[in-house]
């Protein structure tokens, strides 16, 4: 704050004097560069910074404070510090006379004497005040001391003799500064003389005018005497009085009319002013009407409240009348509000508002409670209506369906079924619905189950209306708590809860009646009737699994959002239980449906084998099976497994867990049944269905239909064997993994059961296949061996391997080709089994021969050897031992014989080279090779 610039200097003031509050313009220099630079301003010692208005560095406008007398104007600036001035301001207080107007209050005790009547003598004295009471002539041209200097010397004093603060010193200095002491003494004497003259004045007048005064006295007493005489002689005063009275009555008569009019006018004016003054009340009825129409209810209530506090117990007739009218309107208003409150379509806010209005209008009773009651009833009614409507429609639709079914049973039932069995596995059931919908709108309508619509409607109703209801109830209690702590009614609390529970359980029971009728079985019949009896359709389960998740989702959403209202209360337990039950029901239904679907899968077998390098050939069936299971899991995932925070884990309950596991394993095993059925009792295609298929599926299918879709038994066997294997090793583990991933428990058990099932099936299929294959070969062996009267004893010319053996080998090759075409994986397994039985039979046949001649021995050895070398790669210990035993039965050959055998064996092998190749190197099965094989074998 060190002042850097020159200090401010005031050189001009306009005006230079004035009463407090004068607006003055201060001019000078160095007042700073902006308004903030001015940090102080004193005028006559009074701080005036507040009123100061910085205009420029040379100009400030301010208002003076209550400073009195001449004083400096001192500005202070930030940079210049404290300033000085060459001019000053003189503050004075206006002396306002008794007859002058003034905007401010004047303290008159100083200037105006209380006895104004006696003001005259003093005024006279003041008027008589001489210019120079001391009679000393002042010879100097002008007084040396100016007024300002005197003011400084005698603050609060004055040189005016007529004022109270008259200071003799001031006066003498002002007027007789140069007078000598003697002069002043002489002046004093003069003044004394003058004063004494003044007090003697009246006496001298009396003295000089004595005679005249006495004359006056005389005539006065004479007059007095005369009056006295008059008074004694007659009472002239009375007659005056009479005359006066007469004059008065006359005057009254003259002015009566005018006065009457004036009175009337006065009273009218009074009445008008009363009306004006209380126009609020008089306009109130109209205003109430208008505001009600405008919907400005708050205004109405405020007005009414005001009127009530002002006029409720008024005694005045008119007010009472108007007030009554007001009351009447308010009562109407109240009724109207009440009626509106009863309308359940209001929103929560509206209801709250209405209740508030009613409460503030002192409605008798408890509007909020009424509203709650009303709301609850309405809600129940809504739910009830919804239920009735839906049941009605369901019945109708059932009838309609039956009707339609009876009418075009030939037409659209098959359509539905066929389209439900899509030819390509990828098509989901839902899409099949939609494809149907495009075909048949009517059918679509029927297919959206009424129960689903019912649940949707019901939850929507609940979600829309219940939260409001709940909030209203909550605010009802909180309001009562906050407003009138005494009035809180605990019984109502209970009742409220009961009402809530009633609505909730009604809702829950409706849903249960629709979806879980079993859960209501322990209720009395009459009560169950109330919740709605859904007609049980004779056909399969009516609400298909597809719809269930949606329903469950609805219910859960509803339960969730409603429980959010009352996070710790127990009202929503019913709802949560319902949601839980729905979930389990949904899960079971879906799983059951999946099982059913899987079981009916056999209808979808197309017997088209798709070969895969790794997995071998399979049909689409395992894929379809997996699809169904995965789909079910997918459907269930959201509904069942994903648990929301407030909900219990679905697998937390032991029975449900058990049931779920059982269903899962059933689901897994269902496929085996399906496959078995396919193999042993394939469905017979109906010609009519084929027609429909053609119509719907189109050109592609037609080609497939040309050849017989159902292959022979052994082919079926090997296909199913492959499928079974595929299912066992790939599909089932995959499904199990998926299930476990989705939170299903105890899947090991299911896996084990499924594995057992499939292994068993595998075994069965395998053995029957082997049986199927080896039986004809084995059966043909013996007759063929001895065909054409062949006898080991009489055989002459062993020229080579005989045809029967070639035939056997060819049959084995045929089996090999068949298996290989389906699944190369099984080749070893099947071939081993087949060769084993073939070799066994061969050996048995050789062993049964009682006797050989030399050629016969050669022939037998040759054939055994040929067989042995051919099937060497499938050879087992058992086969080897069989061959050994067989060889032992044949007599030893000569060297010549051995040579012949070797030669003939070579011949045979070279002639059957191509055929035998498939026994050579099975480790490297090339598809091209396979094809040539198959061709050659055929």
């Amino acid at each position: 704050m060190a002042p850097r610039n020159a200090p401010p200097l005031v050189t001009g003031v306009s005006p230079k004097e004035g009463p407090p509050g004068t607006r003055i313009t201060i001019r000078g220099e160095n007042f700073g560069d902006d308004p903030r630079d001015l940090i102080g301003l004193k005028i006559c010692g009074m701080d005036c910074l507040l009123s100061a208005e910085w205009k420029s560095s040379s100009k400030i406008i301010a208002r003076t404070g209550p400073g009195k007398g001449k004083g400096d104007i001192i500005p202070v600036t930030r940079n210049g510090g404290k300033g000085s001035c060459t001019v000053g301001f003189r503050g004075y207080f206006l002396q306002i006379g008794p007859l002058q107007e003034s905007a401010i209050w004047i303290d008159e005790s100083q200037t105006v004497r209380p006895n104004l009547d006696h003001g005259r003598p003093s005024a006279a004295i003041a008027a008589k005040e001489e210019e120079d009471p001391l009679a000393i002539l002042d010879e100097s041209d002008k007084p040396k001391l100016t007024e300002e200097e005197l003011l400084e010397m005698f603050p609060e004093a004055s040189g005016n003799m007529s004022l109270e603060n008259f200071s003799p010193g001031w006066y003498l200095l002002e007027h007789h500064q140069n007078g000598s002491f003697d002069d002043l003494k002489a002046g004093l004497n003069f003044m004394k003389r003058k004063a004494s003259q003044r007090s003697e004045g009246p006496i001298t007048i009396v003295r000089s005018n004595l005679t005249a005064i006495l004359d006056c006295l005389d005539s006065l007493s004479g007059m007095y005497e005369k009056y006295k005489e008059d008074d004694i002689r007659g009472n002239c005063m009375n007659s005056y009085a009479v005359l006066l009275m007469q004059a008065k009555s006359c005057a009254d008569g003259l002015f009566q009319e005018v006065l009457g009019r004036k009175d009337k006018a006065d009273s009218t004016r009074n009445a008008l002013s009363v009306i004006q003054k209380f126009r609020f009340l008089f306009h109130l009825p109209l205003n109430i009407q208008r505001n009600i129409q405008k919907g400005d209810y708050n205004m109405v209530i405020n007005d009414y409240e005001k009127a009530k506090s002002l006029f409720a117990d008024t005694e005045i007739q008119v007010f009472r009348k108007v007030y009554k009218e007001v009351e009447r309107r308010i009562a109407n208003f109240r009724d109207m509000l009440h009626k509106r409150l009863r309308d359940p379509h209001n929103t929560l806010d509206e209801q709250k508002k209405l209740i508030r209005y009613l409460v503030s209008l002192e409605y008798k009773g408890d509007p909020a409670w009424e509203c709650l009651d009303n709301q609850q009833k309405w809600l129940i009614e809504l739910l009830d209506d919804c239920k009735d409507d839906r049941i009605e429609e369901e019945k109708n639709s059932l009838q309609g369906e039956n009707l339609a079914a009876s009418q075009n049973s030939l037409q659209w039932k098959p359509i539905a079924r066929v389209s439900k069995s899509p030819t390509k596995g990828g098509i989901s059931r839902e899409s099949s619905f939609s494809s149907l919908s495009s075909n048949d709108q009517q059918a679509w309508k029927f297919r959206t189950p009424q129960k689903v619509l019912f649940v949707e409607d019901l939850t929507e109703l609940m979600l829309q209306n219940f939260p409001d209801f709940w909030k209203l109830g909550q605010s009802y209690f909180t309001r009562e708590k906050s407003e009138k702590g005494v009035k809180i009614d605990t019984s109502k609390h209970g009742k409220m809860k009961q009402m809530m529970t009633e609505v909730i359980s009604l809702f829950a029971n409706f849903v249960r009646a629709a979806f879980l009728p079993e859960s209501l079985e322990n209720l009395p019949e009459a009560e169950r009737e109330k919740f709605g009896k859904w007609p049980t359709p004779s056909k399969q389960e009516h609400v298909s699994g597809t719809w269930l998740p949606a329903c469950v989702r609805n219910i859960r959403n509803c339960a969730n959002s409603l429980s959010a209202l009352d996070s710790h209360g127990d009202t929503m337990i019913v709802l949560n239980e319902l949601a839980f039950d729905m979930r389990t029901n949904c899960m079971f239904s879906l799983l059951k449906q999946a099982i059913a679907d899987v079981k009916s899968l056999h209808a979808k077998e197309t017997w088209v084998v798709e070969t895969d390098d790794e997995l071998g050939g399979t049909t689409q069936l395992p894929a379809l099976f997996e699809n169904i299971v995965n789909e079910a899991i997918q459907h269930l995932h959201e509904v069942v497994v994903m648990t929301r925070p407030s909900e219990p884990e679905i697998f937390s309950q032991r029975p449900i867990q058990k049931e779920a596991t059982t269903l899962c394993s059933q689901l897994l095993q269902a496929f085996s049944h399906c496959m078995e059925q396919l193999v042993f009792s394939p469905p017979l295609h109906k010609t009519e269905s084929k027609h429909s298929v053609k119509i719907i599926i189109g050109q592609d299918m037609e080609l497939d239909q040309m050849e017989d879709p159902i292959p022979s038994m052994d082919k079926r066997l090997i296909i199913m064997l492959s499928n079974c294997n595929h299912t066992l090793h790939i599909v089932v583990p995959r499904i199990i993994e998926n299930l476990t991933k989705h939170g299903y428990v105890e899947m090991e058990k299911a896996l084990k059961a499924a594995q057992e099932t499939y292994q068993e099936l595998d075994q069965r299929l395998f053995s029957s296949y082997i049986e199927q294959k080896s039986d004809p070969i084995l059966g043909a062996m013996e007759p063929n061996m001895y065909r054409g009267g062949f006898n080991w004893k009489t055989w002459k010319n062993p020229s080579g391997v005989r045809n029967y053996l070639k035939e056997i080998i060819m049959s084995v090759i045929e089996v090999h080709a068949e298996v290989y075409s389906i699944s190369p994986k099984f080749v070893l397994r099947v071939m081993r089994k087949i060769t084993e039985s073939v070799c066994e039979e061969m050996c048995r046949l050789i062993q049964c021969v009682p006797d050989f001649n030399a050629s016969g021995a050669i022939q037998a050895r040759l054939e055994l050897e040929a067989l042995r070398t051919t099937v060497r790669i499938y050879s087992t210990d058992h086969i080897e031992s069989c061959f050994k035993e067989a060889f032992e039965c044949i007599p030893e050959l000569s060297d010549e014989g051995k040579r012949v055998v070797r030669k003939l064996l070579e011949n045979t092998q070279s002639s059957m080279k191509i055929q035998l190749m498939c026994f050579h190197d099975d480790a490297l099965p090339a598809p091209v090779k396979l094809n040539t094989h198959a061709d050659s074998s055929c």
Partner: protein, 216 residues
């Protein structure tokens, strides 16, 4: 506060007094003339080199600043009075303290010129001095096209009164400094004359006083 303020106040006045007393000579100039002729405009132009366009009737303004008059530092104290007749009664008081007068009229307003006569008389009555420093100033010469008072007319009156007549313009600052400095010179010479007389006059005064006493 209440205890410190008075002492502070006294100190201030003492200080300001000390300052103001340094250039000992103060020439007290009083602006007279009808309302709206430009007394304040002349004053503000002289004091602050600014021309105020908007008219605001003056009551009584006071200005004082240091000026250099012929090489001597003096102070000029200007009392700008009200021209309106409302304030005529208090003029006497103001005139009493004046040492020199600038009697201003507007050359485009005849009435203001006529009013100078009254002002002249009032000044002479109050000061009781025929030779009081006095300048007749015809203002607003920048608006010469609206002139109502001719130079001759004014000069004639000035000659009657034995004063000089100057035409000014507060707007263009023409002759503004001249009128103030001329007046100050007159005041100064008048004061010097008075002090010269004072030395010889002292006795005469006493005589006259004695005479008066005798009369009484």
């Amino acid at each position: 506060m209440s205890s410190s303020t008075p002492s502070c106040f006294l100190l201030n006045t003492a200080m300001s007094k000390a300052k103001t007393q340094q250039p000992a000579v103060i020439h007290k100039v009083i602006m007279v003339g009808s309302g709206g002729v430009g007394k304040s405009a002349l004053t503000l132009q002289f004091m602050y080199d600014e021309f105020v366009e908007d008219y605001e009737p003056t009551k009584a303004d006071s200005y004082r600043k240091k000026v250099v008059l012929d090489g001597e530092e003096v102070q000029i104290d200007i009392l700008d009075t009200a021209g309106q007749e409302d304030y005529a009664a208090i003029r006497d008081n103001y005139f009493r303290s004046g040492e020199g007068f600038l009697c201003v009229f507007s050359i485009k307003e005849q009435e203001s010129f006529q009013a100078t006569q009254d002002f002249r008389e009032q000044i002479l009555r109050v000061k009781n001095d025929e030779n009081i420093p006095f300048l007749l100033v015809g203002n607003m010469v920048d608006l010469a096209e609206q002139r109502q008072v001719s130079v001759d007319e004014a000069t004639k009156r000035a000659q009657e009164w034995k004063v000089s007549y100057v035409e000014t313009s507060a707007k263009t600052r023409a002759n503004v400094d001249k009128v103030f400095y001329d007046l100050m010179r007159e005041i100064r010479s008048r004061k010097m004359e008075a002090s010269r007389q004072n030395n010889g006059k002292q006795k005469k005064k006493k005589d006259s006083r004695k005479k008066k006493c005798v009369i009484l």
